[in-house]
Amino acid sequence: MSTPYGKLPPSAEYFLLPLVNVVVAFLISGLVVLIAGESPLRAFELLIKGSLGYGEGIGYTLYYATNFIFTGLAVAVAFHCGLFNIGGEGQAYLGGLGVALPCLWLDRFVPWYVTFPLAVAGSAAFGALWALIPGYLQARRGSHVVITTIMFNFIASSLMVYLLVHVLKPVGAMAPQTRSFEAGGQLPTLGFLLRLLGLDPGIAPFNVSFLVALVACFFVWLIVWRTKFGYELRTLGQSAKAARYAGIHEARIIILTMMISGALAGMMALNNVMGEQFSLQLDFVNGAGFVGIAVALMGRSHPVGIIPAAILFGILYQGGAEIAFDMPNISRDMIVVIQGLVILFAGALENMFRPALASAFASFGARASRRATAAGE
């Protein structure tokens, strides 16, 4: 009747377990660094110092975290509906188009705050559209979204190469990218926030899309836990039978959920295209869509968990770059290995330490309650 392992108290479930996973991932990463012939302790120091030790590093960390909040939310929303959207990469790529088009159109005539709402809407719409097709195929034809979304990543990639090389590239330019946006297509940085804390943000591209990401976190919470639609979404995610019993229109929920998920992934493009590069470039998503899966897993698919998880991956990206820069034996690829280990432990193996932790808590709890009874009697 009961499960063999006791349940974890919420504090352990949401904080201790992810922490244990990350610590183990770091320990094994340390071994990798050691094998590569460098000092793990110094690498760790570089990682932390590089990402959190000075203003510009913090700015970059938060810039990367912004990407991962968007893609993490995208994966999380679909998770709650029982859908595994691994097409964040492609949806974000297409989202870039939704950002670039209003910028190219308006950047010379209006200030950024006029272009920005259009870019937000454009990125969300293009991302949603790219997720709509797999969503429709899942809902109406039963084609599994895991397969279709990953195929759509490749289609997105090819489509964007075509567009950048043949359509969007200015005449005579060599690089497959759009022209640089003028002031009306450039988001202001949030460097002043860091300056308020007495930090120097340097040239870090930490920009207003971070605020959009936080607003998105709030809306995801609101939609999933506080609306009728969210209720139906979660019901379907838990049991298709119960959803049919409750008169929920399965196909509609699947399609809408995929569109919301795609819109969130698409909005990731704001941060890069309008906040850093000021142009639409080849492969700008650079794996953020996939990191979103790990972020969502680690953040337990809840916005409150996704923000710290995204910041952790921001630290890995930024600090990892510093390690690669300072340590000759650690290349950029080695950093990917370390990130992979974190994903492995935080995501794929997230339940590895659960039984041990649960039994530790169970015996601790029993001892505590015995003491309480003894004291009471």
């Binding site: 009747m1 009961s2 063999p4 006791g6 609101l222 506080r226 609306t227 009728k228 639609f229 209720y231 139906e232 979660r234 019901t235 838990q238 049991s239 039978k241 119960a242 049919r244 019993y245 409750a246 008169g247 929920i248 169970a362 015996s363 709890g365 029993a366 309650s369 015995r370």
Partner: protein, 510 residues
Amino acid sequence: MSDIAIELKGIDKSFGPVHANRNINLAVRKGSIHGIIGENGAGKSTLMSILYGFYHADAGTILVDGEPVAIRDSNAAIAAGIGMVHQHFMLVENFTVLENIILGAEDSQILNAGIARARRTLKELEKEYALEVDPDAIIEELPVGLQQRVEILKALYRGADILILDEPTGVLTPSEADHLFRILDQLKRQGKTIIFITHKLREVMAITDMVSVMRRGEIVATRPTAQTSVEELAELMVGRRVLLRVEKGEGVPGEVKLSVRGLTVKDSRGVTMVDDVSFDVRAGEIVGIAGVAGNGQSELLETVSGIRRAIAGEVVLAGQPVAVTGDVDAGDLRRRGLAHVPEDRHHMGLILAFEENENTILGYQDDPRYLRGALLDIDSIRKDAEAKIAHYDIRPPDCRLKTANFSGGNQQKIVLAREFERDPDVLIIGQPTRGVDVGAIEFIHRRIIEMREAGKAVLLVSVELDEIRALSDRILVMFDGRIVGERGADASEGDLGLLMAGVAGAEQAA
């Protein structure tokens, strides 16, 4: 050698503030069947989990054959000769019987030798205990009764002398249960010791030699079965006198509220599950559908309640036709006054991962009462949930608790409260007391009778023949997708049993 197979001394176990087992002392004689009964949540399963090494007792000792043993995990339990047949089978569905039996006891990396050896051992076991089962059959193709037999064989193959069966008849048809009892009797005569956990009093009376009653984590009594009665056991279990028969007056049927004509339903493989079924249910009457599980009752319920599509037929709800062959919509029927307590509480009637209050709006999430614009009105939902908790005595009375943490009886009360409090015209109820303890059964039966008294049309499906006979005004018997007979409430068990077996039905059809 003592004649006590297994003895528990002073077993104590707490989960945080919950004292699940309190100073349990129990001695089970070798070669006997010892029943342990108690309501859901009385601590039976915890006790057995301790015996099988899933949990560790906070205090106390376990003696097997007079020797103290430390059961750290299930391997230690197996080594001590203890075998367990779980309530929910632990079988790999797409493996053969043989593969399942050697799973975890392969003895070597190369399977062939082990399989051949297992085949021989299995033959001997079959001969010894009359437990026939085709070793090459795939588990998922076997009926539930045979799957359970595989579980028993698995335990015997590992050399179990003490068999623990946890609610073994919960999933069985009456005839399969009878068969199981014969097997247990045979095992007993071969010297095996059996601990039989159940909350069904009749089974305890039918099969056990001794019976221990658990209540709130304690063993409150141990009696030789021959010297006790159903009434005494029920009282010991619940702690107060229990009415085992439902009191109900003469029904006053009104107009037809639900009319079904020529309903035919096929499943996804194209097998006809409901075959040209017609009946009416009137206001103020309970129509019971009896039958062995799997004869089309589930499909009939799902079709009438708008979850499954029919290929032919008509359903009229309170005078208005219902689309049964096109796009079905359970929500639409609900708005038109149909309430449905589904058979599958865990996957259909409730979302176990949700908080209790979230389940009180399942199916009624469109109700403006629960909404404030596009948002859910959380205050109103929780207030409503609390009112229902009070009205239906749902325990623990905490609407923020995860539904999975409620006992079976209380989970069912959550569903009943949601469906009954809507004041529907037509009520469709499937297996109202499956997996529900005795105290709650009485409560649920009374509520169903109350609904009839209030003039609702009630369609009841249950595989418990006693329940059908106790509640129904008219009884329809389903066999192989067809209604093979109709009887009054006074029909004898034997008469209904024949119809359920399809014997009388065949004559009638011919």
